[in-house]
């Protein structure tokens, strides 16, 4: 008896189905959208940091780096706290 197993094809189909089951899950898309909104100002601060560094304005670049550090500290702090809402 000849046994046929298209392992590679099966794996690919599994990947597509996995992805498909991911996408329609509304909550995940919404969470991604929310994360994107939060990321926008952080990207802006990072852009300012590089801009000021390129201009050679190190005093204001240092201030910008500190602001970025405080925002990142917010994320770190959030990881070490319990859920309050609900």
């Amino acid at each position: 008896m000849e046994v046929v197993r298209d392992t590679r094809l099966e794996r690919r189909i599994a990947a597509v189905l996995q992805l498909g089951s991911w996408l329609p899950s509304g909550a995940r898309i919404v969470t991604a959208g929310i994360a994107l909104f939060i990321a926008l100002p952080i990207v802006r601060v990072a852009m300012m940091l590089f801009g000021f560094l390129r201009l050679g304005d190190f005093r204001i670049a240092l201030v910008t780096a500190l602001v970025l550090a405080i925002i990142i500290l917010g994320f770190v702090a959030g990881m070490h706290m319990d859920v309050v809402a609900g």
Partner: protein
């Protein structure tokens, strides 16, 4: 979460944000009270959802101000040092303060907004000719902005930065605690301490909202306070509402409508005060 609930959250946020936009203020100040009053949303969840929508709304208007060259980004980043630090403090405090205190603080901020709406802002006198010393000079924060007519550059200086920083710390703290942009607290800082031209202070304080809110929103997101089923429709509704509000802005210059909104703010403040003491008049609590 049913579709109807999502639709209600969306429409309430749209209305609240449009109301704020019409008055030229961030919608957050209306979003949180309306969510707790009419949707029975937990105040902490309402605050976490609102802070996301505050970022979304401010980014849109910040872009427009930047294009008109009214924003002082150097000054903004220096003041953000104070606002983000304040926001971080707010995140730590938020978990320790009882919900009743948040209601109380919100009522105070609403009353402050009502008072600011009553008293018109006057253009602060900017002493551009004085000897330039202090932080404003060493960080090279003095700048200029294009005049409304003619487009000539009008120079201005940045005064009394340390006092401004202290007030900004408070603004960041309140922003994180209540999920609002807290323009209410930034405006006195900009006007009385830094003495910026009105257009510059509006543009710069709007620019700062995003980074300030990101510091607290990041923590709330990681902590799990931001509930997608609430924050999603609230953010979408707020963005649409802000766009609608900006269109109607011109119509709200009349004195009578201004007084009407002062009344609305006062009513919301009273309701929040009652909530602080555990009395619920409108709606049910889920």
């Amino acid at each position: 979460m049913s579709f109807a609930h999502v639709a209600i959250l969306f429409s309430i946020s749209l209305g609240a944000s449009a109301l704020g936009g019409m008055l030229g203020m961030a919608g957050g100040i209306f979003v949180v009270p309306m969510l707790t009053m009419f949707c029975g949303v937990d105040i902490r969840q309402a605050i976490a959802a609102s802070i996301v929508s505050v970022i979304a709304c401010s980014c849109g208007s910040a872009a427009s101000y930047l294009r008109h060259r009214l924003t002082n980004i150097r000054l903004a980043i220096v003041l953000e040092l104070a606002t983000t630090f304040g926001a971080l403090t707010g995140v730590f405090l938020a978990g320790r303060l009882p919900a009743s205190f948040l209601f109380f603080l919100f009522a105070v901020i609403l009353l402050l907004s009502a008072q600011q709406m009553l008293a018109r802002r006057a253009e602060p006198e900017n002493p551009t000719t004085t000897a330039r010393t202090g932080w404003g000079t060493s960080l090279r924060l003095h700048s200029s902005y294009p005049a409304a007519v003619g487009g000539a550059e009008i120079p201005y200086s940045v005064e009394r930065l340390p006092i401004g920083m202290m007030l900004m710390y408070g603004a960041g703290l309140v922003s994180a605690l209540l999920g609002i942009g807290s323009g209410v607290l930034k405006i006195p800082a900009m006007d009385t301490a830094l003495r910026l031209p009105l257009k510059v202070s509006s543009a710069t304080s709007n620019f700062m909202i995003g980074a300030t809110a990101a510091a607290s929103a990041g923590a709330y997101l990681v902590r799990g306070d931001i509930v997608p089923a609430i924050a999603g429709p609230v953010a979408l509704g707020s963005v649409v509402g802000a766009a609608v509000g900006a269109r109607i802005l011109i119509a709200v210059s009349s004195e009578r409508i201004r007084l009407l909104f002062v009344g609305v703010l006062a009513l919301l403040a009273i309701q929040m005060l009652l909530d602080a003491f555990g009395i619920h008049l409108v709606g049910g609590r889920a």
